[in-house]
């Protein structure tokens, strides 16, 4: 523990889950997420865990649904088309308040799309995806190290709030090899079994536990929804995460908003632009839900121009506009759909164009 190791992203994500205390993985192969399942198939038996290859993503997600209801840390990982198949279980888990962790290594869509890095599942992750009124915790780290560092938080918050925690990273994070350091190793036996867990009556005082998303009485279902939204409000208040990069001055020429790999690339663009004298900074949401809207609005006071760079066709920018909620700002969008990754040069050119007044 503590030393840096050179690992493929997907394998490091798997190791991070194991060191977070996860001993149950249910998965189904899909590019570019398969190495995570492969790593868990190799690693979990070494630590007394269980890897099950499910018959589909529908089944894999329903297996973590069962294991989470039984009170244990469980995880699955997939990529966009597979995550679409998991929306059923995701909605049910929200209704039944079952915690689990899902990693989406997003690839280009819609449909089969391609297998290149993308962020086009933003709406699916943040705005629902499945049926009903619900929210998921959605984390979008920008580097492998950050993904590894926050992995325990996903499991802990999933159980703290009894809800799904999802990590969305583009396929690049999973496929790239990087040096990474693991700063923790949590003993699963030290994680208490919650009193609501399905574990047999004898484990919780002889009174039965029932886990269900069904409530036939509309008044009771309404009350349940209000209770869920009180919980989501608490999550919103406590769990917003973001990074403000080069946004210290009181006036900024252009504030760029981006997350994930796009944000990582933009940091290079910001450094290059700064070297040329442009006052440019980056606002990077780390949680996509809860979205750091208050903070974004505050930083937006410093600038006239807000440039959203996303590996999708104008999804993130909707939340950017909603957060800032000021029609007098100038909003600019650089969309990169289909598995195309931005380059620093393109972003630099766009910023310069905006400041020359040529861009809308």
């Amino acid at each position: 523990m503590g030393e840096k190791v050179f690992m493929k992203g997907n394998e490091a994500l798997g190791e991070a889950a194991v060191r977070s205390g996860c001993r149950l993985f249910f998965g189904y192969p899909i590019t570019p997420a398969s190495e995570l399942a492969e790593y868990m198939a190799y690693r979990l038996p070494q630590v007394g865990g269980v890897f099950i290859q499910a018959e589909s993503e529908v089944a894999a997600s329903n297996m973590i649904y069962g294991a989470g209801a039984a009170g244990k840390y469980a995880m699955t990982a997939s990529s966009s088309p597979g995550i679409s198949l998991m929306q059923e279980a995701i909605s049910y888990m929200a209704g039944a308040e079952v915690p689990a962790v899902i990693i989406n290594l997003i690839r280009g869509g819609p449909g089969l799309g391609d297998i290149q890095p993308a962020q086009s599942d933003y709406f699916q992750a943040v705005k629902g995806g499945g049926h009903g009124d619900y929210r998921n915790l959605v984390y979008a780290p920008s580097t492998l190290q950050e993904a590894v560092d926050i992995m325990p938080l996903l499991f802990q918050n999933a159980f703290k709030y009894r809800m799904l925690a999802m990590m969305v990273v583009d396929g690049l994070v999973g496929q790239m090899m990087e040096a990474v350091e693991f700063k923790y190793d949590i003993d699963p036996d030290s994680i208490p079994v919650p009193d609501w867990a399905l574990s047999g009556k004898k484990m919780h005082g002889g009174t039965k536990n029932v886990n269900t998303s069904l409530e036939l009485d509309p008044n009771k279902l309404a009350a349940h929804n209000f209770k869920l939204f009180e919980k989501y409000q608490k999550v919103y208040e406590n769990e917003r995460m973001f990074e403000a990069f080069e946004l210290e001055e009181s006036d900024i020429d252009v504030m760029i908003v981006a997350y994930g790999t796009a944000a990582r690339i933009i940091k290079t663009a910001v450094k290059n632009l700064r070297a040329k004298g442009y006052k440019v900074g980056l606002f990077r949401p780390i949680t996509l839900w809860p979205f750091p809207d208050k903070e974004l609005k505050e930083y937006a006071q410093k600038t006239e121009h807000v440039l959203t760079v996303e590996m999708s066709m104008g999804q993130l920018i909707e939340d950017v506009k909603l957060s800032i909620f000021d029609p007098n700002k100038k909003y600019h969008l650089m969309p990169y759909p289909g598995g195309i990754v931005p380059t620093p040069k393109e972003v630099e050119d766009k910023v310069i164009e905006i400041l020359k007044g040529g861009a809308k």
Binding site: A54, A59, K202
Partner: protein, 253 residues
């Protein structure tokens, strides 16, 4: 008259009254499961998986831990629960539409994988809760709301025989078709459900009990006629019997 003895009691863990229609076998099957769990002392360590369909509220009727599954996914949910707690008794309680149509893959893969759980599939040849639509198990010629002229194999194919299907897999320890249309068959059903649970506790693999049942409401029959229909028509297509029983040959502990 001081010699009154208790010869039968409804099991304490059976908590009714239930909502089932007169002549439906769900109530009998629930009670038999409750009897077995109580007699064997397994109610403390059991986790039931309730289905979508008429038995969706099964968790109100047997006093054990319950999970309410999405339609068809019970065996996948049960797989997750079983691996979370391998020494608990985990069973799914499903209808034929649930286990054999939308959940065909999940049910089959529980058997293929030899997951150490039990499925009790109640086959009444229709989707009961949604109003009597055609199921994979609907008899040829049988009229339902989605086969108003009778099930026509040209469009709908033929009845699916789950006990035979599940029996083919090496991961299956027990696959039996029973019924409950008279007391003798209820006792027989109880024997086989008990055996399925025993095999599970011994770690023998997947166990599957198909119960040929009724739907008096959607069949438009009174309870007696419905039971007679099971006896005279249903079990011609769904013969009762043991399709696989590994017995003592496969002990894994």
């Amino acid at each position: 008259m001081g010699n009154l003895q208790v010869v039968y009691e409804v099991p304490k863990i059976y908590t009714g009254p239930n909502h089932y229609c007169p002549g439906c076998f769900h109530g009998i099957i629930h009670r038999v499961i409750a009897e077995i769990l109580q007699e064997e002392g397994w109610d403390d360590i059991s986790i039931g998986i309730a289905p979508v369909g008429c038995a969706v509220l099964a968790y109100d009727y047997i006093d054990i831990d319950w999970f309410e599954a999405p339609h068809g996914r019970a065996c996948a949910n049960a797989t997750g629960i079983k691996w979370a707690w391998p020494d608990r008794l985990v069973f799914t309680y499903q209808g034929d539409g649930d286990a054999a149509s939308i959940g065909f893959a999940e049910t089959s893969y529980a058997a293929i994988r030899g997951v150490n759980i039990t499925t009790i599939m109640v086959n009444n040849a229709v989707y009961g809760m949604t109003g009597g639509q055609m199921a994979p198990t609907t008899l040829v010629g049988m009229k339902t709301t989605t086969s108003p002229y009778g099930r026509d194999p040209k469009y709908a194919g033929y009845p699916l025989k789950m006990a035979e299907h599940i029996a083919q897999f090496e991961g299956t320890a027990l696959s039996v078709r029973v019924s409950a249309f008279d007391p003798q068959h209820v006792l027989d059903m109880k024997k086989w459900i008990r055996k399925a649970f025993q095999y599970q506790m011994e770690g023998k693999g997947y166990t599957f009990i198909e119960v040929v049942s009724t739907c008096p409401t959607n069949w438009r029959m009174d309870p007696v006629k419905a039971a007679e229909f099971v006896k005279n028509e249903m079990i011609k297509v769904y013969p009762l019997g043991v399709y696989k029983d590994v017995g003592d040959e496969k002990k894994e502990g």
